[in-house]
């Protein structure tokens, strides 16, 4: 039974997991959907009420009957490396590849349907409520007056984007920024703004969850620092224990969202409370493992190689049955 890793060739974080799978003696195929058609080949047949499919790349061959699990890491767009790429070719190739993988009985880290829903930040906050995390008051709005009111109520608020910096400009960064009620909110009408109460922060926390295993890491903030990713603090990431209450909430969140893997960001305040900021369904973990020596790649490899008696992916009740 083989583990399939969908990712780009340059992804060295995937290398960390491939090395662990090799150590465990578990067969693995690594494939970038961007290489179909071309370097990687695919065929699936549906006949006589039965199904089988195959993938091959660089002499490695995988039959759908021998597929143990799929790790969706950093896959390219299907057909992106084709000699004549097009939106249509990507759509056709996506149908062929993901349609075939959905037909197989396999475990997903993470199922693309669940991943797609889990990327929505407003939904993340709601799920965090249900999971009993502490969530800072937050507003998403296109109404300047409501944005202004929010800032007047909470005084110190941060602005951040829900989807990241503009994807068409590789030189643009969009760090979380602290603002006050005096900002000019008129342009909130031109695009939904995400405002959140500022958490006076002692540290940033990253909680990486692999199935039921949890790895927490903490990085002290510099005084007055807002976005933990910008500005060198001289403080390293350090492994810390997971508080029981957080562990329980994180398990609940994974179960409600149908995710097998997730990396949570929290802000730790002066009282030691971990405030939920977001949950990255495909969050990076290499930097945490390299700094803290926590065995996350090994945990991912073990999860992917685990023999399951029931390999169906449960559908959370609010996901539509037909994912189109």
């Amino acid at each position: 039974m083989t583990v399939l890793i969908l990712t780009s060739e340059q992804d060295v974080t995937a290398d960390m997991v491939v090395a662990e799978l090799n150590r465990l003696g578990v067969p693995v195929m690594r494939l970038d959907p961007a290489d179909i058609p071309g370097k990687a080949k695919l065929s699936a047949d549906y006949a006589h009420g039965d199904f089988d499919g195959h993938l091959s790349v660089h002499g490695h061959v995988l039959s759908m009957g021998g597929l143990r699990s799929v790790w969706v890491r950093r896959p390219g767009e299907p057909a992106a490396h084709a000699p004549e790429p097009s939106a249509w070719l990507t759509a056709e190739t996506k149908q062929a590849l993901y349609g075939m993988l959905y037909s197989a009985s396999t475990a997903w880290m993470n199922h693309p349907g669940n991943a797609e829903q889990a990327r929505h930040k407003p939904w993340q906050l709601r799920l965090a409520h249900y999971s009993d995390f502490a969530v800072p008051p937050t507003i998403f709005t296109t109404a300047p007056r409501l944005a202004q009111q929010f800032a007047e109520t909470y005084r110190d608020v941060v602005v951040k984007s829900a989807s990241g910096p503009p994807p068409d400009d590789p030189e643009a960064a969009l760090p979380t920024t602290l603002i006050g009620p005096d900002a000019d909110f008129s342009t909130v009408a031109a695009g939904p703004a995400l405002l959140q109460r500022y958490v006076p922060k002692r540290a940033d926390i990253r909680l990486t969850c692999v199935g039921e295993r949890q790895f927490a890491a903490r990085k002290r903030s510099a005084p007055g620092q807002v976005d933990g990713r910008y500005g060198e603090t001289g403080h390293p990431w350090e492994a810390v224990p997971v508080p029981d209450r957080i562990a329980k909430s994180a398990l609940e969140y994974l179960s409600l969202s149908g995710l097998a893997y997730a990396a949570f960001d929290f802000a730790e305040d002066e009282e030691g409370v971990w405030w939920f900021l977001e949950c990255n369904q495909g969050g990076q973990f290499g930097f945490v493992e390299l700094e803290t020596q926590q065995p996350i790649a090994e945990a991912v490899a073990l999860w992917l190689s685990w023999r399951r008696t029931d390999r169906r992916v449960p559908t959370p009740p609010w996901l539509p049955g037909d994912r189109g």
Binding site: D11, D15, H58, P175, R229, F287
Partner: protein, 63 residues
């Protein structure tokens, strides 16, 4: 009218490091110039920043 959130865009220095490894299709791993797997050199991985959260946010939605 420029959306409010875009007022907070900052320029980002693009990393200029050339990744000192290349992909070996039969091993399915990236390999250093001296033939060792890239994952064997943890200091180098940290230095090139390929596995960090900021690197992810620059290239991919799911950092």
């Amino acid at each position: 009218m420029r959306p409010f959130t875009l007022n907070f865009v900052r320029p980002r220095a693009l990393p200029t490091v050339v990744e000192p490894y290349s992909y070996d299709a039969s091993l399915q791993l990236n390999i250093l110039g001296d033939g060792r797997p890239a994952v064997a050199d943890r200091d180098l991985l940290l230095a090139v920043g390929t596995t960090t959260s900021t690197a992810g946010s620059a290239t991919h939605f799911d950092d």
